[in-house]
């Protein structure tokens, strides 16, 4: 029987289905970071348990670390303690750790694929919701809570109920200037922030096939913002080309054999899904969020909602509250919204291709005088190195953008990079929740080029009309 990729990976990883209990599923990789792991290691210690497979577990520091000079001590004593606790736990339990001084350090969802740790057909978990990112390589990857982190450390398995599957097929070709970020925001706008709850979403169709691996990661990354358990894209020639030569691939297997094994995970033609959603790529505009949930989004040519036009009481209540928090009028054109901060980075849009797009838009321009801060934070130290080799950092600094060390940074503002109350930020990250980038801060989610263009103009502009110099 024809199977989709989720069914294939699921079937290959069910260890045991005890009668009346949840299936026990084998986990091939666990990624660990400093914020959601300390209590899991502590739990193991208290119970006298070991990590079953330290060699299947990889740790990085990303959420708390400074993006400025790392040779200086971390200012916040609690951040410092958390980072040091992770290091000590990794040493105690024998886990490889890409600490903040490691040349391969970076955001967990950037370095996993970058190092070839993430491979098609794997089950991957991390105590972090954006683990869905790794689905771009044809892996089943999802976020878990800290108790589950401990469970995986102790048993290399997880109790999971089988999800339903949703196919999101994107037909045709994305217009020039419209990116993977715009596509996924449009998808969330269409199905809603709980539209994917209970589902694993597979993205298919011509527009998905045409995305680069970085673009696919952006799409799978934000799948969690649609409420889904995971997002996945079947491997193809582009996936193989991306993986080739990466350091952590299996040893002693010929490339041809490996490729064949990986490709076998792809969904069979004629496979079925529980639900199917179809989108036309040509209809997608560059997107800008106006509210405090990623589903509160519209095209750059659109306006904030007019409350009286919202029929549903709950939706109207939510929109009213969001507009109030965001300090916006109803029915206001998006391009009239002025900003004073900009952030390019995060596990959504902090990869080399994102920085190239940002640099293309920045080249030959200067950051607007109305801007208080515009920072560019690479997703990993390797991305940083590559960008510098291509001279992108020079383009940014010449235009007045700050060029930083890698990390999560202003995506969630656990380190020093954060918005002040009332700040309005064009951000390439993934969440525009109240206070996400700093208490009282207002976030508008956009693509990297849209963020840069907004920083140059001081307000949102349609990147499709941009004059690239």
């Amino acid at each position: 029987m024809a199977k989709n990729i989720y069914e294939k990976i699921w079937d290959a990883h069910v260890v045991h289905e005890p009668a009346g209990e949840d299936p026990i599923v084998y986990i091939d990789r666990q990624y660990v970071h400093e914020v959601t792991s300390a209590q899991a290691f502590e739990g193991l210690r208290l119970a006298g348990r070991k990590v079953r497979h330290p060699e299947m577990t990889f740790a990085t520091m990303d959420h708390n670390i400074p993006t400025t000079d790392r040779t200086k001590p971390i200012q916040d004593p609690m951040s410092k303690q958390q980072v040091e606790t992770l290091k000590a736990n990794c040493a105690e339990f024998g886990i490889a750790c890409f600490d903040m001084f490691h040349p391969l350090n970076g955001i967990v969802h950037v370095i996993g694929p970058e190092l070839g740790l993430t491979q098609p057909g794997m089950t991957i978990v991390c105590g972090d919701s954006h683990t869905s990112t790794h689905g771009a390589l044809g892996a089943l990857a999802f976020g878990i809570g800290t108790s589950e982190v401990e469970h995986v450390l102790a048993t290399q398995t997880l109790l999971q109920k089988k999800s339903k599957t949703m196919e999101i097929r994107v037909n045709g070709v994305l217009p020039v200037g419209v990116t993977a970020k715009d596509l996924i925001l449009a998808v969330i706008g269409k199905i809603g922030t709980a539209g994917g709850t209970g589902y694993v979403i597979e993205y298919t169709g011509e527009a998905i096939r045409a995305l680069s691996m970085e673009g696919r990661m952006t799409v799978c990354n934000m799948t969690i913002e649609a409420g889904a358990r995971a997002g996945v894209i079947s491997p193809d020639a582009r996936t193989l080309a991306y993986l080739k030569g990466r350091p952590h691939l299996p040893q002693g297997v010929s490339w041809d054999a490996l490729s064949a094994q990986w490709m076998a995970w792809a969904s069979d033609s004629g496979c079925r899904y529980d639900v199917m959603v179809e989108l036309e790529a040509r209809d997608v505009e560059p997107q800008v969020t106006w509210g405090t949930s990623p589903g509160m989004v519209t095209g750059v040519c659109g306006k904030t909602p007019v409350l009286a036009e919202l029929k549903d009481d709950n939706a109207r209540l939510a929109a009213e509250k969001a507009l109030q928090y965001m300090g916006l009028e109803e029915g206001m054109p998006i391009t009239l919204i002025g900003i004073n901060k900009m952030f390019v980075g995060s596990c959504t849009n902090g990869r080399i291709e994102d920085l190239r797009e940002a640099a293309k838009a920045a080249k030959g321009y200067t950051v607007n005088a109305a801007m208080d801060q515009a920072i560019i934070v690479p997703g990993s130290q390797q991305v940083k190195k590559q960008a510098e080799a291509e001279g992108l950092d020079k383009i940014f600094t010449a235009a007045g953008f700050e060029w930083r060390e890698a990390g999560c940074s202003m995506c969630l503002a656990m380190n020093e990079d954060r918005l002040q109350p009332g700040d309005r930020c064009a951000s390439t990250s993934n969440r525009n929740f109240e206070g996400r980038q700093g208490k009282g801060g207002r976030t508008h989610l956009v693509s990297p080029a849209m963020a840069v263009a907004a920083a140059i103009c001081g307000h949102f502009v349609d990147i499709r009309t941009w004059e690239f110099k």
Binding site: I24, Y26, S129, E150, T155, T197, R436
Partner: protein, 203 residues
């Protein structure tokens, strides 16, 4: 883990859609390395005024009538966003043991069961009724009976709810997940032997 069987408790309303885990507990409090001590900072940005200390009178949960509440009432997509288990830890630490909402985000839903808390999905109509009642009557309490899968209103009427039998069993007994799984360690070992021979064959 402490078992969850029956709960008689005051209900507190939180009338919002998409209550995300960033709101339940903002990131500046994720730096602790313990599981406890998060109750005071639950809903921090909503709960306190600018100074971070004075209770915000506009935040409903701060009203005297909702003090000591153990049941939280909310709306769609509760617990969305970050996977942080600090969210259920904070709710638990504050005193909540049961959350009623129209829907929950997946990860949050799972996290609750690992902390002896019961999230219950109810239809939009029932939730609306409960919101009306809780506001109409100070000290409004509900009786949640997990065994019977019912919620009893003050007027004696019962609302039935659904729960996966295995999750129910786990909560009723307070079973620790790891201990449960390790009963099947032989199966894990067998799976790993297979995996190993597969990897060997591949070479």
């Amino acid at each position: 883990m402490e078992p969850f069987r029956k709960l008689m408790g005051i209900v507190a309303p939180l009338e919002a859609l998409n209550v995300d885990t960033d709101q339940i507990i903002p990131k500046q409090f994720l730096k602790r390395i313990e599981r406890t001590g998060y109750g005071d900072v639950l809903f921090y940005d909503w709960r306190y005024l600018e100074d971070g200390k004075t209770p915000n009178p506009a935040f409903e949960l701060n009203a005297a009538r909702y003090q000591g509440a153990s049941i939280l009432l909310s709306k769609d997509n509760f617990g969305c966003g970050s996977s942080r288990e600090h969210a259920p830890w904070a709710l638990h630490d504050y005193g909540f043991r049961c959350i009623l909402a129209t829907s929950f985000a997946d990860i949050f839903f799972n996290n609750c069961f690992n902390n002896g808390m019961l999230p219950i999905r109810l239809s939009g109509d029932v939730i609306e009724v409960l919101f009306k009642e809780v506001r109409a009557q100070a000290g409004y309490s509900l009786m949640v009976d997990l065994e019977a899968q019912t919620i009893t209103r003050p007027n004696g009427e019962k609302i039935a709810f659904e729960i996966h039998p295995f999750l129910k069993e786990r909560l009723l007994n307070g079973w620790d997940q790891i201990g449960l799984t390790l009963r099947h360690e032989d199966k894990i070992e067998a799976y790993e032997r297979n995996l190993l021979s597969f990897q060997e064959k591949r070479k």
